[in-house]
Symmetry: C2
Subunit: 439 residues, 2 copies
């Protein structure tokens, strides 16, 4: 078998056989196939797609390319949530302790922010002392003690995905559905999950801007996840504006703690609602509850009793962070008081937000990575106060930019201001938070 013959088949839209896909993934994993051959195949897959059988083989091969975590010693259902990425998308920090409080084991392997989207690991690291690099045994210990653990992908889990992802980023082949599906499911499968809920973001701040394409992705994720033995559901959710208020690292953690404490701003309601919805789906998939209604009630009780916040506290302590963050986020998190108002340039109704531009602006201010080795500044961020459909006057505050660097903050204010579209007429079809459940 020669790599170029496999590339040629995909180039010519012929179906790749499982043995050919295995040969390629194995060669990528062990460095026997040159990066330039891998990237040519990735582009051919991007442009010519993969059918179900190929998708399945690719995912299985990547899943099997490294070690597979085994939590069979933990007598709880293992369920996780994954998001395709958005702006202000912070539900993981609410969902993991909340679902853990309901008796589910959540081994959450998370990512870093790149491009316009934030990353759970970056957010967590804004808690002083919090460690996201855990050894396999540390991860398991935290999981056993707390019910959930948060860590980055290790070199042992789905190494083929790690290599291919780096190449995809450099060769404009990130957005291919078969590659996204194989990447997500292989990592989740290697983390030893029984079930998972995938939050497929759609809109101006998501990788998928069109609902049709997001739906295709959601369907492929569900089908492939189930075929790999992971009970999988996907929710199509709105990403046409930042989720909740905060976009940034420390300020997103603060918003999550406020939700866990039941003391949050009205504009943060969508974070609460979406976290509850995704968590309810997880409890049903975990067979903890038979219906979503029962699950929602159980989750409400875990929030109101303080049990969810308590799990969060335990996790922070177990992963080396300062647990006082739960009681006094303002005192513990690195926050800055210097703020700059983003004003509406004209009166009218907010009709649209170029959400990825807000993500890029905050990343450029230091809140994210423009290049993969950029250092994150946990203090900077944006708090949005106004949503699509709201009426504004000229000069009314749309939100606040936080940064100690005044000149960069002013640039950020301009970029974010330009991201809001203000029209004369009220927008009738406001975005629905959860658009569809794919199962």
């Amino acid at each position: 078998m020669r790599p170029q013959d496999i590339i040629r088949k995909k180039r010519d839209r012929e179906q790749l056989l499982p043995a050919e896909i295995n040969f390629f993934v194995d060669g990528v994993t062990h460095g026997q196939i040159a990066d330039y051959q891998t990237s040519a195949l990735l582009m051919a897959i991007y442009l010519n797609g993969m059918n179900e059988a190929e998708q399945q083989s690719l995912t299985e091969a990547m899943l099997q390319s490294g070690s597979i975590l085994d939590f069979s010693g933990i007598a709880k259902p293992k369920v996780d949530k994954h998001s395709t990425g958005g702006v202000g998308d912070k539900t993981s920090l609410v969902i993991a302790p909340l679902v853990a409080a309901c008796g589910v084991c959540v081994p959450m392997i998370s990512g870093r922010g790149l491009g316009h989207t934030g990353g759970t690991l970056d957010k967590l690291e804004s808690i002083p002392g919090y460690r996201v690099s855990l050894s396999a045994s540390e991860f398991q210990n935290v999981l056993e003690q707390v019910g959930y653990a948060m860590a980055g992908q290790t070199a042992e889990l789905a190494p083929a995905d790690k290599k291919m992802y780096a190449l995809r980023d450099a060769t404009a082949t990130v957005e291919a559905i078969p590659l996204i599906v194989a990447s997500i499911i292989s990592k989740k499968g290697a983390a030893g999950l029984e079930a998972m809920v995938i939050d497929v973001k759609v809109g101006s701040g998501a990788f998928m801007r069109e609902e049709e394409r997001a739906r295709t992705l959601a369907q492929a994720l569900v089908k492939t996840g189930n075929s790999c033995g992971i009970r999988t559901r996907a929710l199509l959710t709105d990403m046409n504006q930042p989720l909740g208020c905060a976009v940034g690292n420390s300020i997103e953690v603060k918003e999550c703690i406020e939700i866990l404490r039941g003391e949050f701003a009205p504009a943060a309601q969508p974070v609460f609602d979406l976290s509850l919805e995704l968590s309810a789906q997880m409890l049903v998939l975990a067979h903890v509850d038979d219906s979503l209604d029962e699950a929602r009630q159980r989750l409400q009780r875990a929030l109101e009793s303080g049990e969810a916040l308590e799990r969060f506290r335990q996790n922070v302590a177990a992963q080396g962070g300062d647990p006082r963050v739960c009681d006094d986020p303002r005192g513990v998190l690195p926050l800055v008081s210097e703020s700059f108002i983003v004003e509406s340039r004209r009166p009218g109704y907010i009709t649209a937000v170029e959400t990825s531009e807000i993500g890029h602006a905050i990343a450029a201010l230091g809140g994210g990575r423009v290049r993969i080795d950029d250092k994150i500044d946990a203090t900077v961020g944006y708090i949005s106060e106004i949503k699509i459909g709201d009426q504004v006057t000229a000069g009314q505050t749309l939100g606040m930019v936080y940064s100690r660097d005044e000149s960069r903050a002013r640039e950020t204010v301009s970029r974010i201001q330009a991201a809001y579209q203000v029209g004369d007429e009220f927008k009738r079809d406001l975005p629905t938070l959860v658009k569809e459940v794919v199962e």
Copy 2:
């Protein structure tokens, strides 16, 4: 400018700007763009194509990527012929001396055989002592003395093409028309040509099997060549059976010398005819003659007077080879007498020949390269005696395989035997040698 943004544009079928193409070609030439990014772009070009403006920019950028030969000191028109590659395609060895004898300067940069096609340089090297690696000044000296010189592409000429070609070979992106056009024209332009004739082969032994695709290639070559300031014509010629009799290295040189001597087998007539036709086109493009008829007459005279053979002799001597090869090819060339008959398996008419299979069989016998660093055995080859349309009896000789290795020769005989289709009915539409002139 980032390579991945250029890749993304081509991936999304947007037109690349000249500055973007220059940036990429420059980065490839100087190693600033990673091979895996180049190969992703090559695959995107393969699958999404290029329009005329992009084709032009790519070719110019590759042409300008290295040094450009300057033969302005030679007061003759500089014209070359290029073939897209075939089996038994040996016309360069006849055309160069023949056209040089008519007052044209032919700086011929040739290639090696790879895959099922032979290469002019490999054929020439079967002449004892002949050197195809010439320095720029040696090349110019031979050109001035003899009127033509034959050498391989140096590292200085179109280096971007050299790098891209190696990647294309390893990533199944060789057969893309925009890449073929840019590769050919950039090399020819860097060799300082004023005009060129391109022999676009079509059929079972060519890279382009379908006439429609070959015509598209021919048209793109002519358009791009002319846009780069090289007067260009292309001929679509038949490659549905080996050209002439000999397929191999020494035996092809022998066939060419026989043609230059006017003493050749009837089955070699197509080599004579095609050489004359391509040469006549060169003379007209060189403005040596106004009409093809005049050119043909001039060429006939150069052959009959022995002047063409004399040029060949001078070139062999100037490039270090043994010039006695012209008088006694059998005594000078490494030929073997061990031969094995390829017999027709049944009576009937020859209806088709899987020509690339003959090329592959002779390459596997040692006459070509299966891998790029394989050594060539100049002695082996195949002499075909029967053409499409000929009537044969069962057991009649189709041709002879030459090799000292009996067991490999017998394998070769079987492969070649299977390449001939023998049918019950006479094939009415025999292949025409020159199908079309594109100008």
